[in-house]
Each structure stands twice: as structure tokens, then as C-alpha cells.
């Protein structure tokens, strides 16, 4: 019974990890319709930043900057030529992710590296260790920050305006190119932050991004097009589902169950996934 109850906070903490890795993706995918397969490698860049600094607290803002700038470069040099062609972007960024993986292998070596967890994160409350609580806190903070940014700042509102009607926003004097840059910077930066957090619980190596990218996309898909609210619910739901499915079966089956659940969910609620307006058909 305790084991059963323990799975609840564990599920929430898995959900928090999912939320963190998907938050940046929700941002870029939701706000810009860009499918960035290199998102996983931005997470990896964040983790390596933590490795270089060997300090978790310093690493958080630094990783945000490093991954953000990488995202900025990617957006300016390539992605901006691909707006409106999500599938091409998907493939392009996959190529980028391959190059980044190999680059990491050449820069840092193939073996995993170690980022020491800060001493104040050892120990825990009940089943949840402090490092898990830290990740949950970080996820909540990330979501709140994004929400505040989108609703309470001028830049955020401009971002939303561009999302809703790019042409109209452009004609009303919003520099859409700049908004795109900023959005991509923030989205990628959030991936970097996730990368720092992941050093607490997982390996830090060139393959890091590949372990998380599919899960991150599942959260975004299940959550609906860039809906922050949807992504939060999806992350928590999938986290809990994963936790209990693995508890009752095993880790392999749990992954399959999660995927099946996402497909089933899309059967019931595909509405979150497409917007159809007759006047601007296709």
C-alpha cells in the first residue's frame, strides 16, 4: 500500500521532468509552429554547461543563455527560412541534432561526464528526495514565468499577437522577425535549464537529448498546440500514468502504454490539435 501511495509523488515528479523538457518545446512549437528536433541537443547543451561550471546554481542562468543563443543562431541562420513548412523544419533540425551530438562527442568525449549534485540537495522528504523536489519547483517556476511573460509583459503580448495573426501583427507595427528571435531564444533557453536539472537524475553524455526528445513531443502533442495549460496537464497526466503503469507492469510496457494512451486520447479529443477556419481554408 505504501508502495502504491509512493507512486503518486513519484508520478508527479516524473510529470515535472516531462514538463521541464517539454516547456521550451511548447513555447517554440506552440508559439511558432516550429518542430525543433534539436531541442534534445539544447537540453544536452544545458547539461554540459552545468558540467563545465560544476555549479548548479550558476549553471541555471548560464545554461539558459548558452542554449538560448544556440537557438537564436539556429533560428536566424536556418529556421526563419522555413516558416510555414513544419515538416521541412523537422527534418532540417534533425540534421542539426546529429551534428550537435557528434560535436559534443568530439568536444567532451564519448563517455558520460559527472556533474556533482550540490550538498544541499542530498536528503529528502518521505519518498521524494530533495533533488526531485528541486526539479518540481523548477518546473512550477518555469511554467509560471512563461505564463507571466505571455500575459503580463508587452513582449509576451506581442508574441501572442504574432501567433494569432502574423500578417495583422506585422501591419500593426510589430517586428515579427524580432518576436520570432526572442521566442526561439526563450524556448531554447528553457531547454538549457531543463538540461541542468536533468544532471541531477540522469547521465550527462552526447546521447542525452535522444533519451528525452520523443517524450517531450508526446507531451506537446497530447497537450494540444502550444497550450501551456494543456502541456501542464499532459505532463502531469503522462507522468502519473507512467508511474502507475510501470508500478503494475514494467518499464518497457509502461512506455508502450503511455504511447497507446496518447493515441487513444487523440481519438477522443483531437480538437486541441487543429484549428480550422473556413475563410482561410488550408
Amino acid at each position: 500500500m505504501t508502495a502504491f501511495l509512493n507512486q503518486l509523488p513519484i508520478g508527479l515528479s516524473i510529470g515535472a521532468v516531462l514538463m521541464l523538457i517539454a516547456l521550451g518545446l511548447t513555447f517554440t512549437f506552440g508559439q511558432m509552429g516550429v518542430i525543433n528536433m534539436a531541442h534534445g541537443e539544447f537540453i544536452m547543451a544545458g547539461a554540459y554547461t552545468a558540467f563545465l561550471l560544476q555549479d548548479m546554481v550558476l549553471a541555471l542562468p548560464a545554461a539558459f543563455l548558452v542554449a538560448g543563443v544556440m537557438g537564436l543562431i539556429l533560428e536566424r541562420s536556418a529556421i526563419r527560412h522555413f516558416y510555414g513548412r513544419p515538416l521541412d523544419t523537422l527534418l532540417l533540425t534533425w540534421g542539426v541534432s546529429l551534428v550537435l551530438q557528434q560535436l559534443a562527442r568530439d568536444l567532451f568525449g564519448a563517455p558520460n561526464v559527472q556533474v556533482p549534485a550540490p550538498a544541499w540537495l542530498s536528503g529528502g522528504v518521505g519518498i521524494l528526495p530533495y533533488n526531485r523536489l528541486f526539479i518540481m519547483g523548477l518546473a512550477v517556476a518555469g511554467v509560471v514565468a512563461v505564463w507571466l511573460y505571455l500575459t503580463r509583459t508587452g513582449l509576451g503580448r506581442r508574441t501572442q499577437a504574432v501567433v494569432q495573426n502574423r500578417q495583422l501583427a506585422a501591419t500593426s507595427g510589430i517586428d515579427t522577425g524580432r518576436v520570432d528571435m526572442l521566442t526561439f531564444f526563450i524556448g531554447s533557453g528553457l531547454a538549457g535549464v531543463a538540461g541542468v536539472a536533468l544532471t541531477l537524475i540522469g547521465p550527462v553524455g552526447p546521447a542525452l537529448g535522444t533519451y528525452y526528445i520523443v517524450d517531450a513531443f508526446l507531451v506537446v502533442v497530447a497537450g494540444g498546440l502550444g497550450q501551456l495549460r494543456g502541456a501542464v496537464l499532459a505532463a502531469l497526466g503522462l507522468g502519473l500514468l507512467n508511474s502507475y503503469a510501470e508500478f503494475w507492469s514494467d518499464a518497457s510496457l509502461a512506455k508502450v502504454i503511455v504511447l497507446a494512451a496518447v493515441i487513444a486520447f487523440l481519438q477522443v479529443r483531437p480538437q486541441g490539435l487543429f484549428v480550422l477556419r473556413s475563410r482561410v481554408l488550408t
Binding site: 480550422l276 473556413s278 475563410r279 482561410v280 481554408l281 488550408t282
Partner: protein, 249 residues
């Protein structure tokens, strides 16, 4: 032929249609007018299955349309065009028309190459005057030609009811004239509903007009009756300048 009863549609609390009742008898050419946001396009969307009404019934030739999918409604004989014409740019004009004409054939029958031009396609080509452009990709057509192609595709479907959403929007005066003639010709042997607010065009080609306002039917009658109706004048007053030019959304 077409009968809408108490149709209600709401988007996020906004009532796009608020209890619309509309009957279009067979063989009629009906114009739908009304200011921006009156619900004209929504009404067409409801009939063609794109939007599902929250309440009310939509019947066509004795069949209930609510809950049917778009292509099923087309198969019952209801066709429509869009404000922004969507034609398939990579396909030629003939291929576009042929596609529209062939939906009744089973899928496997389509796996053969097209041989020549079918009767329905030839007729559409002739009616829309696009014969000379038949083998050109639709991507090269001008705006007006695209609209005609779209109407041609609609004709090739051989529907019993045609719904046209602002067919002359953005057209030059000559093009409008030609479209008007095309419409009149089509109306001779089809039931047609046209959404339009070009008043000039309306006066020249319309017989019966339904005025929508804020999701309801305001007035129904002949062009002359409607244009002198005080309620209609009130609705259009002060906004006349925008609306007669033809709105764009």
C-alpha cells in the same frame, strides 16, 4: 429544398447564429446579405458540415444534414465555394475539374489514367470559358480565373444545391459582369445560394434576398422590398461605405 430551423452556433460564447430560419425552394437563386459578422459564412459552414450547430436542424431534400461529414454532404448534392478560392495549383485546370467531377466513382476506378475529357468537365470548361487554359496548371491563373475555376469545379460536381461565398470579391468590373452572367445561367437550372454584399451586383442579378443581422434573419423579400426596408437601412447606415465596397476578412 433547403430548410434551416432555429439554427444556433456559438463560438466561445459569441453567438454567430442565433436561431436562424431559412427556406430555399428548388430552382431559386437566393442572395444572402448582411453586415460583417452577421453570420453569412457561418450559415454556409453549417449547411456544408464544416461547423456543427449547437441546436436546430438543417434539412436538404428531406435529409438531415447535421452530424454528417463534409464529403457526405457533398455526395448528397450540396456544393460550395470559398471566399478565398482554393484550387490545386500543381494540377492543370482540366485535372482540377476532373477531380471535382469524379467523386462518385469508386476509389479503385481512379487508379487508371484519365483518358480525354468527360462530359461534365467539358461542360464546365465551356460554361466558365476556361477552354483555352485547360492544360495550364491552375497556379498560373489570375484571381478572377481562379474564382471561375472554382465555380467550374462546383458545376462539374453536378450538385443540386450550390452555395457560393462571395464569388465576385476582388474582381474587376468586367470580371464581375461575366460572373454575373455565369450565375444567371447556372441559376436557370440549379438551386443557388449566394453570399454577397456588392449592392450593385445584387441589384443587377438578385431576385430574392435574405438579410442576416447579428445571427438572425432580419428581412426576406425581393431586392426592391429589401432595399427600402427601414430596418435594413438602419443596419447598413453609416457602415454603408465599407460594406458596399465588399468586406475582406
Amino acid at each position: 429544398m433547403l430548410e434551416l430551423r432555429d439554427v444556433q452556433v456559438a463560438f466561445d460564447g459569441f453567438r454567430a447564429l442565433d436561431g436562424v430560419n431559412l427556406t430555399v425552394p428548388e430552382g431559386e437563386l437566393r442572395f444572402l446579405i448582411g453586415p460583417n459578422g452577421a453570420g453569412k459564412t457561418t450559415l454556409i459552414d453549417v449547411v456544408t458540415g464544416l461547423t456543427r450547430p449547437a441546436a436546430g436542424s438543417v434539412r436538404f431534400a428531406g435529409q438531415d444534414l447535421v452530424g454528417r461529414k463534409e464529403h457526405q454532404i457533398v455526395r448528397l448534392g450540396v456544393g460550395r465555394t470559398f471566399q478565398t478560392s482554393v484550387v490545386f495549383e500543381e494540377l492543370t485546370v482540366v485535372e482540377n475539374l476532373d477531380l471535382a467531377a469524379s467523386f462518385r466513382e469508386p476509389l479503385w476506378a481512379l487508379t487508371r489514367r484519365r483518358k480525354g475529357v468527360s462530359e461534365a468537365v467539358a461542360e464546365s470548361l465551356a460554361r466558365t470559358g476556361l477552354e483555352a487554359l485547360a492544360e495550364r496548371p491552375a497556379g498560373v491563373l489570375s484571381h478572377g480565373q481562379r474564382q471561375w475555376l472554382e465555380i467550374g469545379m462546383l458545376l462539374a460536381q453536378r450538385p443540386r444545391l450550390l452555395l457560393l461565398d462571395e464569388p465576385v470579391a476582388g474582381m474587376s468590373k468586367d470580371e464581375r459582369e461575366r460572373t454575373g452572367e455565369l450565375l444567371t445561367a447556372i441559376a436557370a437550372d440549379h438551386t443557388v445560394v449566394v453570399v454577397e454584399h456588392d449592392m450593385d451586383f445584387l441589384r443587377r442579378h438578385a431576385s430574392t434576398v435574405t438579410v442576416l443581422h447579428e445571427g438572425r434573419v432580419l428581412v426576406e423579400g425581393s431586392v426592391d422590398e429589401v432595399s427600402v426596408d427601414p430596418r435594413v437601412q438602419e443596419v447598413y447606415l453609416g457602415r454603408r461605405a465599407d460594406d458596399t465596397v465588399g468586406e475582406r476578412s
